[in-house]
Assembly symmetry: C2
Homo-oligomer: 341 residues x 2
DNA sequence: CTGTGAAACTGTAACGATACAGGTCTTTTG
DNA sequence: CAAAAGACCTGTATCGTTACAGTTTCACAG
C-alpha cells in the first residue's frame, strides 16, 4: 500500500472516530491519537488543528477501543452491601461519588452483594475480569480479606472505614470514637449515669472505635456502662425495639442511650415511649443521624450528623488519586461528628 | 500460512480468552466462539467439550472485545435526578434493579444529573456514545423529551412513571390516582371535610394522577379541596413546614391533609404540632411512605406504602425484555398502594 | 555533496470477539 | 461413480485505539 491511512476511507456518517478526524485533517490516525494526548513529537500547530476539529465534531473516544487496547476501563466500582442500602446510607454516598466522577472520565458501576459471607465475590470479580480501574468498599473489618486481596494485587481502592492489619491503604472514615465519646459526655451533662450503646455489629472495625469512645467516655465522665448486645445496628428495627423494651423492663434499665444510627434511634424511641418514659425527662438519647427526620419529630433526641455525601466525595477522590499513583498514606481522611444545634 | 489458528500461539498465563480455549481443545477460535453461543453448525460433542473447558478454566468473555465488535455493552444505565437521591428513593430502586441484573450479564451504571433542565443530557450521552444497551429514567413528564428522543431512535428504555404523548413505551408506575383517592376516602371516613394535598411538582406526570385522584375523591366523598400549591414535594422540608404553618394560621386551614411523600409528611407533622393541633384528634394526615419511620414515631399518621424496590425490579425486567425485542405494550405495569395496617 | 540528527509524522500489529465467506470431509442422489 | 448436499470446522477482516518501530524531511556539520 502506498496510500496513507488518512486517505484510506472516507469515514461513515456514524459517530466520529480517530479515523474521521484523520480524514478531515489529512493526518494519520496515529498522529491524531498522539495529538489528542498531547504527545511531545507532534507540532503545536497540528495539535491545535486536531483539537479544533475534534471539538467541532464532538469526538469522544470509544471506550471499548481504549479498554481493549490499554485495559483502562474508566470505571469505578462501588461495592455495596444490601444492609447499607436498606439503611439508606448508599444514596447520599452515590451522589457524593458522582459529584466527583462527573468531572472526570469515570463512570460509576454499582455492584451490591447479598449476604455477609459473599463480600469477597464482587471484589474477586473485578480483579479477575478487570471490570474497573478502582473499587470503593465499605463496612470494613479489622482483618478485611478484601483489603488484603486488593493490596496483594496492588489494585487501587478506597475503603469507607479503617482496618487493623498494619496495611496502609486509602480510606475515609467517620470518627466513631469521638462520636461515642461526645455522646457520653452529653448524656452525663444531662445527668445520666447508667448508659447503654446500640452498637455496630461486632465484626466491623467501627464497632471497635465506637465501643472505645463509649468506654473512654464512661471512664472520663464517671458513668456506668450497661450491657445491650443482643442486638446491633444491623438488627431489624422490630427486633431492636423488642430488645430495648425487654431491657427497659428489667433491673438494668439505663437512663441514657447512645445510638449508632438514626434508624436505630427510631426503634429505641418507640421502645422508650412504649415503656412510659418521656424523652428528655426520664431518659436521654443521643444518636448519629444522616437524615433529618429525628430532629423534626423528636427534637428531644440529641443528634450528631454524619455527612455520607462528603464521604462519597472523599472516597472518589481517594480512589482516583490512588489510580494516578499517589501514595496511600496521603489518601486517608477522617470526618467528625457535626453537632446539629 | 498452513498452520491453523489453534496452534498459532500458546496463550499467555493471563486471563483466559477464546484463544486459550482454542489452544486447549485444538479447535479454531471461531469454532470456540460459535460453540459457546450454541450455534447450529457446531456438533453437540464439540460444544460439550468447549463448554467443559470454558467452565473449567473460568472463561469469561472480555466485555471490551464484545462491545467493540458488536456494540453490545451489557450495561443498563440508571439515570437519576439528585432530587430523588435526596428523597432516598434511589436506594431501594438500585437494590431492586440489581436483584434482577445479578441474574444476567448486565452491569448497572448510575448516572445522576443535576438540575431539572439537564435531564436530557445523560440520555443524549448514552445515545451518542452507545454507553448502554438500555436506560431507566424516572420523574417523567406528560410530554417527556427524553421519551420522545429514545422512541425516535428506537432505543430500549423503561420509565418510572407514565407519559401522555400517545407513545407506547415500557413503564412501571405507582397508582398515585388510587392513592390520593383512597387517602381522601380515609380522611372523610374520619370526619374530615376540608382537605389539602401536598402534591408533586406540577410538571411531572404523577402530579396529574395524584391531583385527579384527589379531586375525584373530593367529589365522590363530598369534601372540600383547599389550596396549598405554594410548595410541593420537591420543596425543601423547611419551606414545606413554613408554608404549612402559614396555612394553618389562616382562614383556609384544613382539617385533613394528604401527603404525597413520607418526608413531606414529616414537615407537615412538625407544622401541625407547632400550631398546637393534635394528630388524629384535631386533624388527620394520610401519607405515602417508603420507609417505616413515620409509622414508628407517629402512628397516628395513616400511611400507604409504595414499594420502590419492586419498581426497580419491574423496570429492570422491562428494559431487558425491551432489549430482547418484546413489544412495549406488554411491558407496562402498575403497582398499588399497600395499606400499612 | 554526504552524513547525522532532530522534528514531525505514519504504518503495522495487536487487544478479544464475531460476521462472513470459505474450506474439508462425508453422505446422499441420480 | 460423479456431482450435489449437508455437516462441521476455520481463516480473514474488522470494530477503535494505542505501542512500537519506522519513514520522511530538512537543517546543518564536515
Amino acid at each position: 500500500m502506498s496510500e496513507g491511512q488518512a486517505t484510506a476511507l472516507p469515514p461513515p456518517n456514524e459517530r466520529p472516530t480517530l479515523k474521521t478526524i484523520a480524514f478531515m485533517t489529512g493526518l494519520g490516525i496515529t498522529t491524531v491519537s498522539r495529538a489528542l494526548k498531547d504527545a511531545p513529537d507532534i507540532s503545536a500547530e497540528t495539535k491545535e488543528r486536531v483539537r479544533l476539529v475534534a471539538r467541532q465534531i464532538g469526538y469522544q473516544p470509544n471506550r471499548a477501543g481504549v479498554r481493549l487496547r490499554t485495559g483502562k476501563t474508566n470505571v469505578i466500582s462501588l461495592i455495596l452491601s444490601l444492609e447499607e442500602e436498606i439503611m439508606g446510607l448508599s444514596s447520599p454516598m452515590v451522589i457524593g461519588i458522582s459529584e466527583i466522577l462527573a468531572t472526570t472520565q469515570y463512570h460509576l458501576v454499582v455492584t451490591p452483594y447479598r449476604a455477609q459471607g459473599n463480600a469477597l465475590d464482587p471484589v474477586r470479580y473485578v480483579l479477575e475480569t478487570g471490570a474497573a480501574d478502582g473499587v470503593i468498599i465499605s463496612r470494613t473489618e479489622p482483618k478485611d480479606p478484601r483489603v488484603a486481596l486488593m493490596m496483594e494485587r496492588n489494585f487501587p481502592f478506597a475503603t469507607h472505614g479503617r482496618t487493623e492489619m498494619g496495611l496502609t491503604h486509602p480510606y475515609h472514615d467517620f470518627d466513631n470514637e469521638r462520636f461515642a465519646y461526645e455522646a457520653v459526655r452529653k448524656l452525663v451533662e444531662r445527668g445520666r449515669k447508667r448508659l447503654v450503646l446500640l452498637q455496630p455489629p461486632p465484626y466491623l472495625t467501627f464497632y471497635l472505635h465506637m465501643r472505645a469512645g463509649f468506654e473512654k467516655g464512661i471512664r472520663d465522665f464517671g458513668a456506668t456502662a450497661l450491657p445491650f448486645s443482643q442486638v446491633n445496628l444491623d438488627t431489624s428495627l422490630v427486633d431492636i425495639r423488642k430488645a430495648a423494651e425487654t431491657m427497659l423492663d428489667g433491673p438494668d434499665a439505663p437512663d441514657g442511650i447512645v445510638s449508632g444510627s438514626g434508624s436505630g434511634a427510631v426503634a429505641l424511641v418507640a421502645a422508650l415511649e412504649a415503656s412510659g418514659r418521656k424523652l428528655g425527662h426520664d431518659v436521654d438519647l443521643v444518636s448519629k443521624e444522616s437524615h433529618m427526620l429525628l430532629q423534626w419529630l423528636r427534637p428531644e433526641v440529641v443528634t450528631m450528623r454524619e455527612d455520607i455525601r462528603l464521604a462519597g466525595r472523599e472516597l472518589a477522590k481517594a480512589v482516583i488519586a490512588r489510580i494516578e499513583g499517589k501514595p496511600p498514606a496521603e489518601l486517608q481522611t477522617l470526618s467528625y461528628p457535626i453537632p446539629t444545634e
